[in-house]
Symmetry: C2
Subunit: 689 residues, 2 copies
């Protein structure tokens, strides 16, 4: 059910590198390269520039890792429930469990701010490829990365002067084939306006996640504020709570987080042989630890639920990826594509053999992988401590010499994430830390120098307990004082988590540097050549791998064939009642049960489309030909899990909660007349452009 | 640290199928095919028949999954501590924790019986290949398996008439290339005679497990009894507590549980692509659940420790196997061996294409795997319930028509395991059951017919709680009454676990039948042909895959090169004190700490040899040229984990606790003068033959 952007703990930015032209409906296209001709050939119609511009202007990126869209002129934002679950969790207490009960404020004044959350709308995209490539020149190794990052920092700084309302970000496309400067209008005060009960969104739980048929109300509304007032967005989408029709064209507009479709064989081998088995094992263990901890008390169940959902969701993704890369038919297709690109590039001296370069980089990565993965213990408190320790050092440097995340353009969000008040649950932090330290020792070995640096003579459990119970960083005022106190405050701090981060930071930086020199740099220059090879072979019909930046995919409402049987493309609200067993996670949300007689069971609940999406697309508006919202994407089917590496038009499906179901829920289950009126544009003045 | 025989939950008996001749020191040889010429060529010496016969007669198999040896004429048995840890656990209470404290009875009368444990000594091996193959004839599918099993049941029944003291077992070698009747003298009353503190054996815990250098006193003594008196074995080994010498020849005599060295490419692909990823993920989760549950109270820590050790041990094995099968160099060698055997067999019409037959069988196995794996929920209570339900049905049938495990020759051990009093820890049973049911739902899918059969409308957690809390099967008297009551008692039972097993058994049998017909039968006939191919190509220089039957391996004391540095072949007792940090699991055993001043720190503690072993070899005596015991094998190094598929003479090592260290511990740490005298043959009359 969750296609929120997935960040592998300790994952190193991976450069995507090869490609063939897209299948029908395949592709997460950038707005400046929408394949209108291709769509027109398949569908007899394609959106024009005006349609695209209008849609783009209403599309929202949520910095928590999701997508969304403005749906009223009063700053109302549609997204998934699972995209705001951790916000609801942060705002909950044992007495007032907003996650379980949902949250429907009676008035706008009661809407609650989500800590750490920021909404962003792209306002322009500029090509800075020549600029960045010139800075790189013929550099290699650590120098290449340094020069590239410095130039990017300067471009971003020059692009956005008003950091309170804008954000500039240079995006690396095709792993280094293109660089584009994205400018965003940002809204850093985002509040919850409407959320159903958690069980309404998570009905079926992990068993139903990434499956279909689904019966999930995975939708919520946020509202963007500025200066204490609802934002009047430049554009918003029309709300269209109607039943989707089989075969009708659909668009998904959102921010797919990351894909690996341009990986060479050497990169895929690394994933299959090294990264995925480790990830599978350690994340499964983490899941087991959480599951059991949550059985200890109702309070722990409440406190751990959102974390567990995230863990189970990403684990299922990793299991799906493992399955895909262990399917000889699937990998055979990827290998054939690479063979074809090599053949087409043969004899092109300007391209040379970037595949060999990638192979060398992956050999280096195999050596550096475990240390890089485990040098940074998990847990909110350690994360903050590291930000504080690094921030103090980095802020003292010139902009172009800082680590990414600490440049002038990146600092405001880093600071917001650090300083926004967010509750820390000590047992959760301790569990994460103790788990990641014990996995470090397991994979690096008890006698490894990094293990010794991490543990000293302590046990993972003892160290985690000492640090979490002794640290005061859960208090945002303490973090603020350290952040503002700079290097002197950090050096003077005796907070055990700060002391610990100080102890690890040098080695962490050293590992990053080695990785930049031996992995990132060769991948970056190989990517530029592979990008050239690809464009030479296939023209512009190649989309870049996903980068958690705005993309558009087109497709249609359609089921698929599963073991000889057709899976219907829609479910209805009534299906929920048939599927419910009363036993978790197939127990009805209380309001669903209480209002059964009022519900129109024929209303379409969830539906599937052929749109090509991936984690990060969660909450993306699903639009019809008219550009109206008919749903919010929240999941993929089980086949979509291999979508990280390749799209299969026969099987990959996007799962959407229909606007019709949200509308019916607001009518009969969670009565919300004011919001319905706002969505219908009845009270709000229309400002749609 | 644990190389006890490993049983994959729900694993289907896998037929081993191809091979090349053995490397130096490679091979787990049957006693009737010891490669004396080969050893003589390498070592200038090899044991004669008398040496082999004497050794074989003193070698002990423990039905719990370990190996051992008689070391006195009063039935004293040397094995590993981890082989009796669950016995100590079963005999412990919160007030008297025998696992933590160890157990050193003051007199023989205080020695305590291990529930479910049986010691067995091979007395003869007879070739019954022609007999079994004649029964199979040209049959295929389910008929093949039925005829084979029926004939085996009859051979076993005819072979052993005194079931109280003997056990007959037909062993399938080379996956079906040979069948041999093993006759055992059995001892079903086995008691603990000496055990150190658990921490002395598990020092370094999971981090040090399957690593070297090791500092582990993984040794214990049992004593076999008959009619209430210590057994006078037909032979016993001389105890030689001397330091092993680098380069000296060593023999390991024991019962390696299972290897897959003769697997074809199709079988290896199934392991790598299907079985191992599932196993890795679900067992890691189980580990996480246990780890957390044990943090809940000291009592749970005590109750769960032995289970957790077993889970972590097998998980490490699976991780090692995954790594081996994802190492292109390693798998390249296996592929080359298969290519060579195919080339040597080309044109031999009698052999045909068994590889294709195996491939067909593995295609079927891929379809049946998950259902077979998950149809039998984990947990002691369910295991007993299924034995009771099946026993009632099977005992009513003629011997040749029963399921394996319920034939006349197999019933005594099945019955012993069912009826011996053994404590059940409800939370452990509930954890296992709830875990395996939830994994069944995850992998089969919520809508799968088998999931519905397993869960009905209950949740895994709710169902497990209801069954475990409602069942009376923890009481051995209840099990005995049901066992003796036969079909009528089972049908009348309202015990929820019995009711549940009755509900699942038909489908469980159906799945076994399908697996026999589509997987086991074709693998069996392919194995016979591959066995012919192998013998035609390489003569007798090929050993069968391990089958938890007696084998002998030869090798020598030797370290190895690790990343350019030599690993010394021995550690000393003093090293323990240097390695100790005070933090679990690197905390000294209390008696080690208390007696530090008395310990001779120069005594060799653990050592490594090139012997080729695998899980099941735990507790195997390590013999010198004279046939005297210089240690007990208890572990392999990290490289040995790929040993399931192939042996690398440069890297694979057996890890042994020295007799010298055990002797020193009995002198200075756990004073045991009577046992030392017995081992030295001072009080006991020598009867060595």
């Amino acid at each position: 059910m969750r296609i929120r952007s997935l960040l592998l703990a300790g994952a190193v930015a991976a450069a995507p590198l090869a490609a063939t032209p897209a299948f029908a409906d395949e592709g997460m296209w950038t707005f400046d390269q929408f394949p209108a001709d291709k769509m027109r050939a398949d569908y007899g119609w394609a959106p024009d520039q005006k349609w695209l511009d209008r849609t783009r202007a209403a599309a929202v990126r949520l910095t928590g890792g999701c997508s969304a869209s403005f749906v009223s002129d009063m700053g109302l934002i549609l997204t998934n429930h699972h995209c705001i679950a951790s916000c609801l969790q942060d705002l909950s207490t044992g007495e007032n469990d907003l996650l379980a009960k949902g949250f429907r404020p009676g008035t706008r004044e009661e809407e609650l701010k989500c800590p750490g959350q920021q909404a962003e709308v792209v306002t322009s995209i500029a090509d800075v490829t020549a600029d960045v490539k010139a800075a790189i020149g013929t550099l290699t190794g650590a120098d290449l990365v340094k020069a590239r990052d410095a130039r990017i920092a300067e471009i971003e700084k020059a692009g956005c002067t008003d950091l309170a309302t804008t954000r500039c970000q240079v995006v690396t496309l095709y792993g280094g084939g293109q660089y584009k400067l994205y400018t965003y209008r940002k809204y850093s005060d985002v509040r919850v306006a409407w959320a159903p009960e958690d069980r309404a969104a998570t009905f079926g739980g992990d068993p139903d996640n990434f499956n279909f048929p689904r019966f999930s109300l995975d939708a919520s509304f946020l509202r963007a504020y500025e200066n204490g007032k609802p934002v009047k967005p430049a554009a918003f989408l029309k709300w269209s709570p109607r039943a989707p029709q089989a075969g009708e064209a659909t668009f998904v507009v959102g921010n797919p987080g990351s894909t690996s479709r341009l990986f060479t064989a050497a990169q895929l081998a690394f994933e299959r042989e090294v990264a995925l088995p480790v990830t599978l094992a350690i994340n499964s263990e983490l899941r087991g630890r959480f599951l059991r901890a949550m059985e200890e008390s109702p309070e722990r169940r409440r406190e751990g639920q959102d974390e567990l959902n995230g863990i189970e969701n990403s684990l299922k993704v990793f299991i799906g990826r493992t399955k895909a890369l262990n399917d000889p038919v699937f990998t055979g297709k990827l290998a054939a594509a690479e063979t074809e690109l090599k053949a087409k590039s043969a004899g092109n001296a300007a391209i040379g053999d970037p595949w060999a370069q990638v192979e060398g980089a992956m050999t280096a990565r195999r050596k550096l992988y475990l240390a890089n993965r485990f040098i940074r213990p998990n847990g909110s408190l350690y994360g903050w401590a590291l930000t504080l320790v690094r921030g103090a050092a980095e802020k003292a440097k010139p902009n172009g010499e800082r680590l990414p995340g600490y440049t002038d353009s990146a600092l405001p969000l880093t600071e917001k994430r650090l300083l926004d008040a967010r509750p820390v649950t000590p047992w959760v932090d301790e569990l994460y830390m103790s788990w990641s330290l014990s996995k470090a020792r397991e994979y690096l070995g008890a006698d490894d120098a990094d293990t010794r640096l991490l543990l000293g003579r302590e046990s993972p459990e003892g160290l985690a307990r000492r640090l979490v119970s002794g640290s005061k960083l859960a208090d945002p005022a303490v973090r603020k004082a350290l952040w503002e106190g700079g290097q002197a405050a950090i050096e003077a701090s005796t907070d055990p988590m700060i002391v610990y981060a100080r102890q690890l930071d040098a080695r962490d930086r050293e590992l990053t540097k080695a990785n930049n020199a031996e992995v990132v740099a060769p991948l970056t220059s190989a990517a530029a050549k592979l990008s050239d090879a690809r464009f030479a072979a296939y023209g512009a019909g190649v989309y870049p791998d996903a980068t958690f930046t705005l993309r558009i995919s087109y497709g249609k409402v359609a089921g698929w064939m599963e073991r000889g049987k057709e899976v219907a493309p829609v479910t209805t609200l009534g299906g929920t009642y048939e599927r419910a067993t009363g036993a978790e996670p197939f127990d009805l949300a209380p309001a669903f049960a209480a209002n059964e007689a009022r519900v129109d069971k024929a209303v379409v609940y969830d539906f599937v489309t052929t749109n090509d999406i991936i984690g990060g697309n969660s909450g993306s508006p699903v639009l019809d030909k008219d550009g109206a919202v008919i749903g919010a994407a929240f999941d993929g089917n089980i086949h979509s899990l291999g979508g990280n590496y390749g799209y299969d038009p026969q099987l990959n499906r996007t799962v959407v909660v229909s606007a019709a179901a949200v509308q019916e829920a607001m009518r009969s289950i969670y009565p919300s007349p004011a919001l319905m009126a706002e969505l219908a544009g009845k009270k709000a003045k229309k400002t749609r452009k």
